[in-house]
Symmetry: C2
Subunit: 162 residues, 2 copies
């Protein structure tokens, strides 16, 4: 019996070690799966909460189409804003919110693509409990890049159809 | 001894089952990690090899910035072409080749971003042994979307600095 109990403890230990090894592999995999780096903290004046931005294509006078990778931590969102030349958002991961003025909040998930029409006030960000990663493409910047407006209130942010 | 041998066999079985479980999880994870669907076969007239395209943002007269997700199987590449309004490529995975006329082939890896300047003939595709996935953003389409040219010969495709 003593031997059996010892063998059982050994079994449990081995199984735990095997699971831990598997978790460690998954962690590593998850790290190498990130396509773009998280970048730098975004200026706090235009966002609520913690937001990170990695510029992928820098603005350039000859061919001006800035592209950025944006990470919103849970609860974080942009202020209301508009783009004179419009913007395209590609949802890369997590759960995002997108709202145009006068419309309901739209949930964004990995693989979704959104066209923000020129001059339409809108905001985007993460859900309250899960962060959100997006690529943002800003074309037609000769017309203007972005006009910032007021912050998204908690009442606006939580006004979502369940 | 018989009990111990039996416990050892049980241990080995449990460890194998735990590893199998972990592999199954990793497989599932890998499937759900794909951000965009592979889409449809691209028209063969403008490509060498097998290429898949998923349109993410459809062309639209009001705000025309087509965005596509392109998967090149190993050895596949576009023909030489140019964009009157330029193009931005975002490397999403695999190993890609990108070459502008008169320059060396540039290797693209996950996270790289490339600006194809307006009217510069170029081509892009996968490496010979590893496929390549990219997002392509085509701005300023009022100037023209794409002008297709001749295929990339095997000599051009393999003329890479090791």
């Amino acid at each position: 019996m003593k031997n059996n109990a010892s063998a059982l403890r050994f079994t449990i230990l081995l199984v735990i070690l095997a699971r831990l090894g598997a978790s460690a592999q998954t962690e590593t995999r998850s790290d190498t799966d990130a396509i773009f780096p998280k970048g730098q903290r975004a200026p706090t004046r235009n966002f609520t909460g913690t937001v990170w931005v990695q510029q992928l294509i820098e603005p350039d006078s000859a061919f001006n189409i800035p592209v950025g990778y944006v990470t919103f931590e849970p609860g974080a969102r942009s202020h209301w804003h508009s783009h004179a030349g419009g913007q395209v958002l590609l949802a890369m991961g997590g759960i995002g919110y997108y709202q145009e003025q006068g419309k309901s909040i739209q949930i964004l998930r990995k693989g979704d693509a959104v066209k923000c029409p020129p001059n339409v006030p809108h905001w985007h960000g993460a859900s309250p409990t899960v962060g959100f990663m997006q690529v943002a493409v800003t074309p037609n910047t000769t017309k203007g890049r972005v006009t910032w407006m007021k912050p998204v209130t908690d009442e606006e942010y939580t006004n979502i159809r369940k």
